[in-house]
Amino acid sequence: MSASTAVRVNWLGSARVLVRLAWARTGGTLLVTGLVVLLLLPMVFAMIFASRGSLSGDPVEFLVRSYDSLLGGMATPLIALLLGTSAFSAESEDGTLLYLVTTTTPRWWIVLVRVCFAAVLTGALSALAVWGTGTLAAGSSDPEGVTTAYTVSVFFGGFTYAALFTALALFTRRALVSGLVYVLFWEGALSDLFPALQYLSVRQWMRGIAAPLTSADTPADLPSVTYALVAASLLVLVTVYTGGRKLHGPRISRMGT
């Protein structure tokens, strides 16, 4: 008698279950409050900008600055951090991860679904904030295609950050702290100071994606679109592969009580 009899995988059904379990972990009051604050912040600035009329200055310049610093530099990575780490970290901590990894569902599929969940949610929420900020600051027009460019950019960033932070949740016990250090220290300070590091910064890749899609002035010497796409794809692949392998022997705080 062999253990490896033909195993049926319910791809869609298992994805629904994995998303449902992840969704339940994102419903915490603190997490939702954090998400709302991050999303509302650029919109509040846009309302202030719009309320001052022509005294506020060029709306394109304002939007590029808001999208680049408040959304690309803060909201998108932090939302991805909260969503990418919440499910796996909590499940590792309370031991319920065991119920996922003692099934026949392929491990890489578990990781991929969780990355997609965090990515789609991060991208959608960030895009909502981009659209809200653009509408509040510049009305229904999209001057110099800046809102469209940054919508694409935050979707790209959502996927990339989600993969990165999902990997952190699987491989470290302090995923949230490690992620914050990356966002605030590596991306916020070092990658701006040392141009060579921009090739290892998701934020710079996001800028690289947005720059050719808008005629507005954007920072110079950014990674190319090709580089950003290849690097992000590699990051997602590495996360799914290594994360899947990690789930064969997951870090669970204790199997016993």
Partner: protein, 323 residues
């Protein structure tokens, strides 16, 4: 060719410098096998290796002839019930068991979940969120989630924790039914009485090693027939020692400050004999000896009698020395 459900062959596992499991060789097949040992003996590590969640540092683990590590397919026939009570609290018991059935790729998720919940007597509470459940209900929900795909090898880590006597009996009956149907069950416990009468075969672990294995009754006899050490406190320990040394069931007496440490082969009989000795009665007599030549013995006040080596660790240590 038919393979045994689970085979450990010289299996060891260590975490850094700490050896959790040390050179274990054992086979588990259809029927119930108890994995007995004190906390920290390495039972959970052994179960995790059996489920393929941990690779052995040395030796080999085989589930139906295959290495289980990094092979999720084995879970089509294997179930692991962890000791931890944690369950996704926001789900109902039914949703949780259905989620497991889906992740296990079962064709009729609803039917399988309903059947499993019914088996563990959780059908009536199936639509309540698990965060409202008592410890016993959580245990049963975990068991339903494990049995939902009717596995042929079930690994249970301390499954009786938190169950009241009726629930315990029901779980035992359920496991016995599965065993009778040809399922191999390996259940761990640190309490001998918990698996008394359930497991026909027992593996005893102590400090990561297999201290003893075999038929339950033979091991039970070894555990109860062993010498006991009893600490007796009395108003005059030396006088009491002089009376006790004559008792054939007493192997030795040692004066330890204000108490006696008595080694005996029969703890139950000793409990009676020490009372008689304190009262100055000969063993088996109901009243003091009335020989005109011997002065009546002065009664001694007993202040306390307690066994010093009743912990499971002592029992297991004895087994290790005498196997």
């Amino acid at each position: 060719m038919s393979h045994p459900a689970l085979v450990f062959e010289n299996v060891s596992h260590w975490y850094g410098d700490v050896v959790a499991v040390n050179d274990i060789t054992a086979t588990v097949d259809a029927g119930i096998t108890g994995l007995l040992g004190p906390n920290g003996a390495g039972k959970s590590t052994l179960l995790q290796m059996a489920a393929g969640l941990l690779p052995p540092s040395s030796g080999s683990v085989r589930v139906y002839g295959e290495v289980p590590h990094e092979r999720p397919q084995i879970f089509s026939r294997v179930a692991l019930v962890p000791e931890r009570e944690a369950l996704p609290g926001m789900l109902t018991a039914r949703a949780f068991v259905e989620a497991r059935a889906t992740l296990l790729g079962l064709p009729d998720v609803r039917l399988a979940a309903a059947r499993a919940l019914d088996q563990v007597e959780m059908a009536s509470a199936a639509d309540r969120p698990v965060q409202e459940f008592s410890k016993g209900m959580r245990q049963r929900t975990k068991l339903a989630a494990a049995l939902v795909h009717e596995p042929s090898l079930v690994l249970l880590d301390e499954p009786f924790n938190g169950l009241d006597p009726r629930q315990r009996l029901h779980m035992m009956q359920l496991l016995e039914q599965r065993a009778d149907a040809g399922v191999a069950v390996l259940l761990s416990s640190h309490i001998l009485e918990e698996i008394e009468g359930v497991a026909a075969r027992i593996l005893v672990m102590l400090s990561g090693r297999l201290a003893a294995s075999g038929d339950y009754r033979a091991l039970r006899r070894m555990m109860t027939d062993r010498p006991h050490t009893v600490r007796v406190r009395a108003s005059d320990v030396r006088a009491l020692a002089a009376r006790l040394v004559a008792d054939p069931i007493v192997l030795g007496v040692e004066v330890d400050a204000d108490a006696l440490l008595v080694r005996t082969t029969d703890y139950a009989a000793f409990s009676r004999h020490v009372l008689q000795a304190a009262m100055g009665l000969p063993y088996g007599a109901a009243s003091p000896a009335s020989s005109p030549h011997t002065p009546p013995a002065v009664p001694i006040t007993l202040l306390g009698i307690e066994p010093t080596d009743e912990s499971l660790e002592h029992v297991f240590a004895y087994l290790v020395e005498h196997r």
